[in-house]
């Protein structure tokens, strides 16, 4: 049994091929149209952002470098050293070593606190799972994205660095931008 195309056949319709004169005219006209298109870009001006001097503002939910938080009224750290962030981290870049709070040395609001809290930002994939896993909103993703350094070990951020405000603030996108 031979196969017949039936309704699967598609008829291709082509415009008649232009003659020599028509074709030449069409090529010439289309070239001029292309030239008009490129020339139209000059008065519009460049769209380039001159990066180190100008920065593209980030959205509020932009996931940049992490921040650790304190309670604003008491100044105590929100992190209680539960290591849920480290457990959630797919890149395995968070290291938490917890210690007991004592009345003499009270660091966090909970029973324990993070004696060591390190994030290896050269491994971090900025997925934000740590932020989701945290039961106390102690860690959030900040807006800082300029994270290059000369040494890989310099990219391991300690607790003090994560608690501190970033030196240079990243511009934040306004509501209407």
């Amino acid at each position: 049994m031979t196969w017949s195309p039936g309704e699967h056949m598609i008829e291709v319709r082509r415009t008649p091929a232009p003659g020599a004169a028509r074709g030449a005219w069409r090529a010439f006209r289309e070239t001029l149209r292309g030239m008009r298109t490129t020339f139209g870009r000059i008065p519009e001006g460049p769209v380039t952002v001159q990066y180190p001097e100008e920065k593209v503002p980030v959205y509020p939910r932009f996931r940049g470098r992490h921040k650790l938080h304190r309670f604003e009224d008491t100044g105590l750290e929100k992190c209680v050293g539960c290591s849920l962030c480290a457990a959630a981290c797919p890149a395995d870049c968070i290291r938490v070593v917890a210690a007991e709070n004592t009345p003499a040395n009270r660091v966090s609001a909970g029973e324990r606190y993070a004696a060591v809290y390190e994030i290896n930002l050269s491994r971090c994939i900025f997925c934000g799972y740590c932020e989701l896993a945290c039961p106390f909103d102690a860690i959030t993703m900040g807006h800082d994205y300029e994270l290059s350094d000369h040494d890989r070990s310099d990219l391991i951020f300690t607790k003090e660095m994560l608690l501190a405000e970033p030196l240079e603030r990243t511009p934040l996108r306004a509501e209407d931008e």
Binding site: A24, G34, F39, R41, I42, E44, P46, T48
Partner: protein, 341 residues
């Protein structure tokens, strides 16, 4: 009969030496200007800035490029042919400068009490001289590509050779119309013949054909198949680095200037101004430079607009479209000239 005998006067030897120095200096200064202009304009055409880091507005970028290239080590592949590898870029640059000498920047002027023509040399075989040096220039490309001992360079060079043969014919034929009308082969004579009307009007088709062939002759987009960065990783100049590469680059941009200058001279009335304006003699070079920069702008504009042709398209366009059109143009002009004289 010597070539100079037809010029009608002899310039003292020291004027000729001085002129060659001035022309070479001008050519040397114009190339970096075209370089930065092209990069800046290409940027603007593509909604970006272009170089803007070195010097004010990035204007010193060509200086930085040249400095970088000239301080690099001269190296060559082990498979290359040493002598030709060294000579090829020199041929390119030599022919470009030699062709630049042809462009008249103005009429003869009285300077230091002698008559000085504001051009390198006004030969009685102007367009032939131009085509001859255009043909020799491709030895630079071909020898460079072949002596590199690399197959991609060789491919680029072979394409260059084929392209030259295809387009030089049309270029010559496009000039024929002008030569019929002006009845002279001297470029200053051609400019004088345009006193009534620039040849771009009666010879519009010839001008277009000449320009298109000029794009091909200078290996500029959309005919930059000899270089074809994407396919041939740079074509004939792949294996060249440092000063030798700079020479090729210099020659390429100087060739753009030469084609601009010849277009200005032959079709755009050289140093003549429209509306019966007759400025003093010292303005002439400025007029020529202004017109040249307009044509160079067109070169850059085209480069920003058109994609590269496929190789078979290049060949069929050259032989099936450009050559018949150029022949027709020459034929019609000949008939008109004979009928009206």
């Amino acid at each position: 009969m010597s070539v100079l005998a037809l010029v009608g006067y002899y310039e003292p030897w020291w004027v000729q030496v001085l002129k060659s120095i001035v022309i070479f200096a001008v050519a040397l200064q114009l190339v970096p200007v075209v370089l930065i202009a092209e990069r800046k304009l290409l940027g603007r055409f593509q909604s970006r800035y272009g170089p803007n880091r070195v010097g004010p507005f990035g204007l010193l970028q060509p200086m930085a490029d040249i400095l970088k290239l000239l301080t690099k080590e001269q190296f060559r592949p082990t498979t290359s042919v040493g002598l030709l590898f060294a000579v090829a870029p020199v041929i390119s640059i030599l022919t470009a400068v030699a062709a630049f000498a042809l462009i008249p920047f103005g009429d003869t002027q009285r300077i230091f009490g002698t008559r000085v023509g504001l051009y390198g040399v006004d030969v009685s075989i102007g367009p032939l001289y131009l085509l001859a040096f255009g043909a020799i220039a491709f030895y630079g490309v071909m020898l460079g590509g072949w002596s590199s001992g690399s197959k991609y360079s060789f491919l680029g060079a072979m394409r260059g050779a084929a392209q030259l043969i295809s387009y030089e014919v049309s270029q010559g034929l496009a000039l024929l119309g002008v030569l019929f009308s002006s009845q002279t082969l001297s470029l200053t004579g051609i400019v004088h013949a345009q006193a009534g009307m620039w040849y771009v009007v009666p010879q519009f088709a010839g001008c277009l054909i000449f320009l298109i062939a000029g794009f091909a002759e200078t290996n500029r987009a959309p005919f930059d198949l000899t270089e074809a960065d994407a396919e041939l990783v740079g074509g004939y100049n792949t294996e060249f680095g440092g000063g030798r590469f700079a020479s090729y680059y210099f020659a390429e941009y100087l060739n753009v200037l030469v084609v601009s200058g010849i277009t200005t001279t032959v079709f755009l009335g050289g140093w003549l101004l429209p509306f019966g304006l007759h400025p003093p003699g010292w303005v002439d070079p400025l007029v020529v430079l202004a017109k040249m920069s307009l044509v160079t702008f067109l070169f850059i504009w085209i480069r920003a607009t058109l994609p590269r042709l496929r190789y078979d398209q290049l060949m069929s366009f050259g032989w099936k479209a450009l050559l018949p059109l150029a022949t027709l143009n020459a034929l019609v002009t000949a008939i008109v000239v004979v009928a009206t004289h």
